[in-house]
Symmetry: C2
Subunit: 353 residues, 2 copies
């Protein structure tokens, strides 16, 4: 008899446009398979045409150029394992609640991206001395609830991040052309930043001498610490140090005896140096074993911890990651009105029966 | 160009054993397609063999008999559209939280079941006068966290419910053999009761003169109103009157203007007579339009309500169903330690932007 096929699925947060998260508690592969890669869209999927294979670079450059997909394939390339995390990941865990897609912990995936460094393209176009930001526009566009009209998805990077040798114009994921839903044919990949920066279906790059203020730069993807004013607003940029307990599941019932707790940890500032586990709701902490994914600074780190559940009762298990810059996950995430950058301890309640 | 395939998936609550809920907010078909039918298992899937096609009826009967699957196909049959709802549906919404699978609203599905009425089989075996309950055993078995040893999944029905003409030994779902994960080849179908009563992979039926006290009868599927004692325990039986707002989604952002709110309502006691909607958190209620699924007393009822979102702001939308017996959804579900029978108002928070 054929064994039954039991597998997890993406978790649907919205269908129009498609927003689905990875079943993060049920996948342990280092490289997220395509069918479990989270999908985050502001708009309907764009139509792919011959135009989609062209990438124009213009604005404050010395020699505006248009690259064809084939040109990029012929350039020197880099391959990097990169965590992509939606800045709204875990939005559903903020208290007070915030509006927007109620992501739990699965708006995160890891893949091997290959592409040409953006800086190599910009060497060919040249930059004017007063250049300040670079704007990246995708082929996807549509309406917003708060403004009239239609908008392209467009984001900018400061010059320094754009010129980092690991900021890529990617054309491959996991050794194959980028899947359509992940930005085929060309996607900007910005390691260490939340993934709104990694613009999908990339169509144009424009160098500007001012600050870009499109709505996906200056309205969304901004931390607003106050509920009713814009005081203290700050752009969303690097990924906060973070971890998740993948197993055991929250509110699950376990037998007494040995259990392996495990999960992942990641950061946009340096690399993970430590993951600690508490079994008693944060009173005492012990070190987990950590296993860095080899040879790459932008990948997540696996952690595990063997717990000999001593006796019946209720337990609150927490994980807390530290990175090489010294950032540590906080007990409470910094609340902000649009719900970005959540990184409080991962917490799981279990009952030993 | 082929349009992108965008579809919802089952929501994984646990994989070993498989427990996945329907993406209830994203399906509006009256008959739940097989790939979206929720899956609730206590144990690994049983192996199907020739034995699986035999159904024995014994215990306090006059003539113990074994029926073959083919015998059942030849008997007079009934076809009924039935809501199956896990008694733990919405367990994740209880406050204080309770342990167990954290079902949200999707542990519910509707299908067209065909089978032979159990009472016709029992006419052939006869019953002794002192018969009190009938025990149904499935082929699935395994361990529990709280007791040593292995257990079959077994449940009993009082004689009156077992002899109801609509209690079926089903062999078909939606015009085809029952899918393996839904109990192939034979499943007991008990309309109006929570679905733990509808035993999958049915292997034996035993008439007894006492009360059956297996762990899935007397430990699980019991309402325990107190956290730390068993005082006031009551068996889980009929489905509570209930409704769900499928759209809009909780914590979503809407434009001003017209929106269709819609969902389903169902009950195990009679049929749905009214669904009311509140936009202001339960202060004022208005009637929704309801559309009974034709010709069947055990199916769910669709409801819809057109809302002209008047102005920007935050709104708390609620639905409340009433059935023909007079039961009304309560504002708060009756808390119980194992989290069964949740049926508080369905509540959705939206922001009009």
């Amino acid at each position: 008899m054929r064994l039954p096929d039991i597998k997890p699925y993406l978790v649907t947060r919205r269908l129009i446009p498609e927003n689905q998260e990875a079943p993060i508690h049920f996948i342990s592969a280092a490289i997220t398979p395509e069918q479990y890669f989270y999908r985050r869209n502001h708009f309907p999927y764009p139509v792919i045409s011959e135009q989609s294979f062209l990438l124009s670079i213009g604005g404050e450059v010395k020699r505006p150029l248009t690259f064809h997909y084939q040109d990029l394939l012929r350039m020197p390339s880099k391959e990097m394992t990169v965590v992509l995390e939606c800045s709204g990941n875990n939005r559903g865990h903020f208290r007070p609640r915030v509006y927007g897609e109620q992501w739990e912990g699965g708006a995160i995936s890891q893949g091997v991206w290959r592409g040409a460094p953006l800086r190599d393209l910009l060497k060919l176009t040249g930059l004017h001395a007063a250049s300040k930001e670079i704007v990246f526009e995708g082929h996807d566009y549509g309406k917003r609830t708060d403004l009239e009209g239609e908008f392209m998805f467009a984001r900018s990077l400061p010059l320094e991040k754009a010129l980092h040798p690991d900021t890529l114009i990617a054309y491959a994921l996991n050794g194959k052309p980028i899947p359509y839903k992940q930005g085929y044919p060309l996607r900007l990949i910005v390691p260490q930043w939340y993934a709104m920066a990694s613009v999908k279906w990339l169509r144009s790059i424009t160098v500007i001498e001012t600050h870009f203020n499109g709505p996906y730069q200056d309205i969304d993807y901004v931390y607003y610490p106050a509920k009713d004013s814009d005081a203290g607003k700050m752009p969303v940029t690097t990924i906060h140090v973070n971890s998740i307990i993948q197993q055991p599941l929250n509110w699950s019932v376990l037998t007494t005896g040995m259990h392996q707790l495990y999960g992942i940890a990641w950061t946009g500032t340096g690399f993970i140096t430590n993951v600690e586990i508490s079994i008693d709701g944060g009173e005492r902490w012990e070190q987990a074993a950590i296993q860095k994914y080899p040879g790459n600074p932008y990948s997540w780190t696996f952690w595990s911890y063997i717990w000999a559940a001593p006796k019946k009762g209720e337990y609150t298990i927490m994980s807390r990651a530290t990175d090489s810059i010294g950032f540590v996950q906080p007990p409470e995430a910094r609340w902000n009105r649009k719900g970005y950058g959540y990184n409080a301890y991962s917490t799981v309640h279990v009952k030993v029966d």
